[in-house]
């Protein structure tokens, strides 16, 4: 019998770990090879951010031809501030979608957070930073309650957060009371969130620093990978190309925003959270566990992952981000009112996540969906506003874009299956 051979013999016959495997097609070293590999991935259904970027460019081009001020620095600057609040909520939604669940309460949590901020800061005279901290803390607590009921009791997340949708909106109305609107100071810490713009050189510093950091980290990472003899190491040409693809929008964005008031703090907060959550999802054990639970809860449990804890914490983070979004909403309108975050915010946040490319089916997506999806919806809103078309048209157009995104998601899922890419 074959197994009777001595183990040592097997050791000797085995060649030194010489990869790559001959079956692995490696065509990455030349620019043409890079393009070929990219095309192959697209055909295999790994669309990545390509469709949404194409859509964004298309939308911008259409609106620019219809209205010459669409791509003006002022309009773009306003757009970046407008997308921040819902964008933060979207980042939270993405976390929940990665688990394959849904959170319907984020709009109400944002509204409750807005009310808590305003009531504490104005009616109780707390320092504004303390009011913000209390609202964000309350958001986290709310999310942990949702998560606990979902994970420990086993009530479907849909129902738990539906109750939250009603309940926390009730809290918002209760807190704001009869007057319905609480105005905040237009010179305090809350207002500063959306009224602060960085002077040009600081904008360049932030943008340049980010690109440089990305280039250095990617380059050293790939060097380490190559040094370890791994076949999947990216050649320096690809690292350079990726850095360039990041640098163009970053520097272009800073240049445009500097022509108006500079890089807005609100947008920077939003992008900062997106980057932080992206790093958390891709580079930490916690993020890996979130993906694992989203991809197969039973497999994750057997691997020793505390599935309940992951679920509770994700709902906590989602509601916390919604609460931060609520604070930004207060900041932008200088007030908390009965209809702060009570309308379309929830739908727009979920739509942005899906449009950005996060799958509704769980386990697939990334934090950048919030940025890209948010920009697409923001561009549509802003463009239609310039064209003086109202909410009815905007809802219908948004619906079409959302539908296209979901259809694309379903198609790419099917394509991934047939191309054996999961």
């Amino acid at each position: 019998m074959a197994a009777q051979q001595a183990p040592a013999a097997g050791e000797e016959q085995r060649p030194a770990p010489a990869r790559p495997d001959p079956r692995l097609i490696v065509t990455r070293t030349t620019p043409a090879g890079l393009a070929q590999a990219g095309l192959r991935r697209l055909r295999g259904g790994e669309l990545g951010p390509v469709p949404v970027i194409v859509a964004l460019i298309l939308i911008c081009a259409v609106f620019q031809t219809m209205h010459e001020r669409f791509l003006s620095p002022q309009n773009l600057s306003n757009l970046t501030v407008q997308v921040a609040a819902v964008g933060l909520m979207t980042t939270g939604v993405i976390m929940v979608l990665l688990l394959g669940e849904i959170d319907l309460s984020i709009g109400s949590v944002a509204g409750a957070s807005a009310a808590i901020t305003a009531v504490l800061a104005v009616r109780y005279g707390l320092p504004e930073w303390a009011a913000i901290a209390a609202a964000v803390g309350a958001g986290l607590a709310i999310g942990l309650v949702h998560g606990t009921i979902f994970a420990k009791v086993g009530v479907p997340a849909f129902v738990v957060t539906l109750a939250g949708l009603l309940g926390w909106q009730g809290l918002q109305l209760q807190l704001l009371g009869d007057d319905g609107t609480i105005n905040i100071s237009d010179s305090g810490a809350i207002a500063a969130l959306t009224q602060t713009y960085f002077v040009p050189w600081m904008g360049w510093l932030i943008g340049g620093g980010a690109v440089l950091l990305y280039a250095v980290l990617t380059f050293t990472g790939e060097r380490r990978r190559a040094a370890a003899g791994l076949a999947t190491a990216r050649p320096p040409a690809e690292v350079a190309l990726r850095t360039l693809l990041l640098a163009v929008p970053v520097f272009g964005g800073v240049a445009v925003l500097n022509q108006f008031k500079g890089v807005p703090l609100a947008f920077l907060i939003f992008v900062g959270f997106v980057v932080a959550f992206d790093l958390m999802l891709r580079k930490t054990r916690y993020g890996r566990m979130v993906f694992a639970v989203g991809g197969g809860a039973e497999a994750a449990r057997r691997a020793g992952i505390n599935v309940d804890l992951i679920r509770i914490s994700v709902f906590g983070l989602a509601s916390m981000l919604a609460a931060i979004g609520g604070v930004v909403l207060v900041s932008r309108s200088f007030s908390a009112s009965l209809d702060t975050a009570a309308g379309e915010e929830l739908m727009m946040a979920i739509a942005a996540a899906v449009i950005g490319g996060t799958s509704l089916f769980g386990g697939r997506g990334n934090a950048y969906s919030a940025l890209l999806g948010g920009l697409v919806l923001g561009a549509i809103t802003s463009g239609l506003y310039l064209l003086q078309m109202g909410t009815p048209v905007r809802y219908m157009i948004t619906a079409v874009v959302l539908l296209i995104a979901v259809v694309l998601d379903a198609f790419s899922r099917r394509s991934r299956r047939t191309h054996a890419r999961g």
Binding site: M1, D21, G422
Partner: protein, 261 residues
């Protein structure tokens, strides 16, 4: 033979009114493949779960490397060095091979996942098992059934176990894939691991197992050296008595043969 790695004696387990296991003995030595055989409901899976700590035994003793131990939780078994690979593979389809291999035991560097070190270790591990998979960065959803089984087995090896229990590893696999898994089982034995193989497939058992431990109705029904025991004898032990359809048929065939001569 030296002290067995794992030695069960007098194991009994009862679920309500059902005596699933009564007074069962089983020994597993290092570098030995023991096939655990039995008909449906014979108690194979219960025995595996007792060893794995999923269902603690009601009575009997478990000795690990000669020392008496209690296994009351899955963590106890894992700490001892018992890895169990259940039939429904516990892999996350959306993660790549490296991600699945290190799920729950990820390596980190400065607080971040150390993908390079994990991929290197994974490549080394799969190399040492002579497993050839073109890229370790494809999602496991794209792998064949045999490859998935191999990844599941390889994952259990990261914990450096001494005993590996496989529950029907070749069920639902094709011919070539079954051969891959059987190769892997032989390599586990060559590494000096004790392997418990549950299988209904006698061809697989004959191909890789050294011993066959047969359970019938929750009791030991024989322990055979596979190479020296005729197929019929093992089947007879599995099915119970000589008075059963299989034995009757063979008897008929034997008489027919002698009659023809």
């Amino acid at each position: 033979m030296s002290t067995p790695v794992l030695e069960l004696s007098g194991i009994s387990k009862r679920f309500g009114a059902v005596q699933a296991l009564s007074d069962v003995d089983l020994t597993i030595a290092a570098g030995e493949v023991v096939a655990l055989l039995g008909d449906n409901g014979a108690g194979k899976s219960t025995l595996v779960k007792v060893i794995a700590g999923a269902h603690p035994a009601d009575g009997g003793t478990i000795r690990w490397e000669g020392r008496e131990v209690t296994v009351s939780r899955p963590a106890d078994a894992q700490r001892l060095g018992i890895a169990t690979i259940y039939q429904d593979l516990a892999l996350c389809d959306n993660l790549d091979i490296v991600g699945n291999l290190f799920l729950g035991v990820e390596k980190t560097r400065l607080g971040a996942l150390d993908e390079v070190e994990m991929e290197r270790t994974a490549a080394e591990l799969l190399d040492s098992l002579s497993v050839k998979i073109p890229s370790l960065r494809v999602p496991v959803a794209s792998l064949s059934g045999g490859q998935r089984q191999i990844i599941a087995i390889a994952r259990s090896l990261l914990g450096e176990p001494k005993v590996v229990m496989l529950d029907e590893p070749t069920a639902a696999l094709g011919v070539a894939q079954t051969a891959q898994v059987l190769d892997l089982i032989e390599r586990l034995r060559d590494r000096g691991l004790g392997v418990v193989l549950i299988s209904h497939n006698m061809a697989d058992v004959r191909a890789v197992a050294d011993r066959a431990a047969v359970l019938r109705l929750g009791r030991n029904a024989g322990d055979f050296p596979v190479q020296d025991t005729p197929y019929e004898e093992i089947v007879a032990a599995i099915t119970g008595a000589a008075d059963n359809p299989v034995a009757r048929r063979q008897q008929r065939a034997a008489t027919a043969r002698t009659g023809a001569e």
